[in-house]
């Protein structure tokens, strides 16, 4: 388990300290603390209802914890809203997408460039050259991200017309367009077939390695998690029950009992059933 997290380590990207979250009597998170290193891929796992999405929402400022605080790049955050975390370089994808249905792929990805936009609305309104140039710049950046994810073919298609797999990539593209230092992914592989999953996993690895982006990913497929991540945090009933390398977490008896089950290769389908018996041998 990690040591003292009340002060930032040398290369810490993101940390939670004593985070507690309550909704009208229901406790979603209970005194959760962890630290994520710069440049690592950290997976957030746990049974349904464990509080993973809630935790992600706290990390990017959509929910405010009732107790505790966050730290991003060493800076303490209390009550920070999403707009602030965005400025600090945190971007995310959404479990139920969250694409803007009234716009095309390019336009959706361009919204990711929002913070980089330099031109004033009045300059845009009057069609001034500076505004036009800025727009062209942002379009080029967005196109680069679209190309990186291989979705150029759908550049001008309204996102409502796209297949689920492509929509997931657009969601990712939009998050990447803001050039984040920390990327939060909420079940980026949910609903994808095996091939698309492998594709997405490879993309995530590429983003992490080639662009030095710290990744925090919620994922149900344990096989993917074990193969992809450097660091795993396990939640159950709003509490942290595991925190370490994949090997450490795998051997953790509390985690085994709560989640992993026999064989340690549970796929996303199994999480809908009741909890499996504790493994005899791993």
């Amino acid at each position: 388990m990690s040591g003292n997290i009340t002060t930032a380590g040398a290369s810490e990207a993101l940390a939670a300290v004593g985070v507690t979250l309550e909704f009208q009597g229901v406790q979603a998170l209970d005194d959760v603390s962890f630290s994520i290193r710069d440049g690592e891929i950290c997976a957030l796992i746990g049974p349904n209802g464990a509080g993973k999405s809630s935790l992600l929402n706290v990390l990017n400022g959509i929910y405010q914890p009732s107790e505790g605080f966050l730290r991003a790049h060493g800076r303490v955050l209390r009550g920070a809203r999403p707009q602030l975390t965005a400025k600090l370089g945190i971007a995310r994808t959404f479990q139920h997408l969250g694409l803007f249905p009234g716009m095309t792929v390019l336009e959706n990805v361009l919204t990711g460039r929002s913070l980089r936009h330099r031109s004033h609305w009045l300059a845009q309104a009057l069609g001034l050259p500076a505004a036009r140039r800025d727009e062209v710049r942002q379009i080029r950046s967005a196109e680069a991200v679209i190309h990186f994810l291989g979705i150029d073919a759908w550049r001008d298609v309204p996102v409502g017309e796209l297949s689920y797999g492509v929509q997931k990539k657009v969601d990712l593209a939009r998050a990447l367009a803001s050039e984040p230092s920390i990327l939060l992914l909420d079940e980026p592989m949910a609903g994808l077939n095996k091939l698309d999953k492998a594709d997405m996993a490879q993309l995530i690895r590429k983003i992490n390695q080639e662009h030095q982006v710290t990744v925090v990913i919620i994922e149900h497929d344990i096989g993917v998690v074990m193969g992809l991540s450097d660091h795993i945090i396990v939640l159950d009933h709003g509490q942290k029950i595991g925190d370490g390398s994949p090997a450490q977490v795998r051997a953790n008896p509390a985690v085994i009992e709560a989640y992993l089950g026999a064989g340690g290769t549970e796929s996303s389908a199994d999480t809908h059933e009741s909890r499996p018996e504790p493994a005899v041998a791993l």
Binding site: I62, A91, P101, W121
Partner: protein
């Protein structure tokens, strides 16, 4: 209660964000449109057409556009459009009256700016209030502004019934008196503002508006400042409506009374954009055309019947019934409005032409 106009724009069928996708076809469309409005019509049609059809058509398009920016693109429902139009024209009137050195266009600009500021104030509650409840803010605006304009005689230069008349109009030394001249001035102003709206809607501002409309949590995550985006929409919408009000009073009616900008008018503008197409520039024009031509079509129809079958009062009521029925019809069949029908028609024509071209 979740209540976003975004939900209308994403029915079961997808929405293309451009009326016509193909660049060359768009150019052709623009050229035809400009030629028609700026050259053909001014030279061919009668004064009646200018005064009773084209001018109100243009102004209502502008008003519809103003409301569309706020309601269609940004998803903020508003029933205060007419009040903002009133602010525009009464401001311009007072500027023209009390600062005679100001050119007409500057007075109109002032009217627009004042309307923008007032709309901004009534948009402030959007910080705390969402969706349907926000309606009460613009309703408050509608009733409060109407009351203020009547109560305080200063606004209408102490005219006993609160009526103001349009000043003599002259632009850059040219007298604007004839219907054709008024039409051309209206056309110039409306076209310019449509161009401005197009720039806004196509760029970052438009994207932010639509993001706030579609999924504001996602927009916030991208760093978009929600309140500032909404307030900008209120202000710009207010500006457009203010200018439309000036044109309505100065170039169309010639006189203005506060009751001409009542709640009924606000509803009419809302209906224009619902029928024409929410979140569409062209839709604003189509809706206005529908609104202007329907009563005429009905009158002609009634005129074809034996004299006395349908009297004027009955005609008006039937118009109302038909209008309401058409709104329901559109909502059931094509919530995207008239513009969607036109889109599909154009796509059909392109498809046929495309096939002809390929095989030829």
């Amino acid at each position: 209660m979740s209540f976003s106009t975004a939900q209308i724009l994403v029915p079961d069928r997808p929405v293309a964000s451009r009326l016509v996708q193909h660049k060359r076809s768009r150019w052709i469309g623009w050229v035809i449109g400009v030629a028609l409005f700026a050259l053909v019509l001014p030279l061919t049609v009668s004064d009646y057409w200018f005064s009773a059809i084209l001018i109100p058509l243009l102004i209502l398009s502008l008003a519809g556009l103003g409301l569309n920016l706020l309601t269609g693109y940004t998803g903020q429902l508003s029933l205060g459009s007419a009040a903002f139009m009133a602010v525009g024209v009464y401001t311009a009137y007072n500027l023209d009256l009390r600062v005679p050195e100001l050119p007409l266009l500057v007075s109109i600009l002032g009217g627009g700016v004042m309307a923008a500021l007032v709309a901004l104030v009534f948009g402030l509650p959007s910080l705390r209030i969402k969706g349907f409840y926000l309606l009460v803010s613009t309703l408050a605006a509608q009733f409060l502004i109407q009351w203020v304009l009547v109560k305080f005689g200063w606004f209408s230069n102490y005219n006993p019934s609160g009526v103001i008349s349009a000043p003599d109009l002259s632009v850059l030394g040219f007298e604007v008196e004839t219907p054709r001249a008024r039409y051309l001035l209206t056309l110039a102003i409306v076209a310019a503002l449509f161009w401005v709206a197009r720039n806004l809607v196509r760029g970052e501002t438009g994207r932010r508006w639509m993001a706030v409309r579609d999924k504001d949590v996602a927009a916030a995550t991208l760093g978009i400042a929600l309140l500032r985006t909404k307030l900008l929409a209120f202000a710009i919408s207010g500006f457009f409506l203010g200018v439309a009000g000036c044109l309505w009073g100065f170039l169309y009616l010639g006189t203005v009374e506060p009751h001409g900008f009542d709640l009924n008018r606000s509803f009419q503008i809302l209906f224009i954009i619902i029928i024409g197409g929410l979140g569409s520039l062209t839709g604003s024009i189509l809706g206005a055309a529908f609104f202007v031509f329907l009563p005429i079509a009905l009158s002609n129809l009634a005129g074809a019947l034996p004299v006395g079958t349908v009297d004027n009062g009955l005609l008006e009521n039937l118009q109302q019934v038909l209008f309401g029925a058409l709104i329901i019809f559109f909502l059931i069949r094509e919530p995207g409005g008239l513009v969607r029908y036109v889109q599909r028609a154009i796509q059909y024509v392109q498809h046929r032409l495309g096939i002809a071209r390929n095989s030829g």
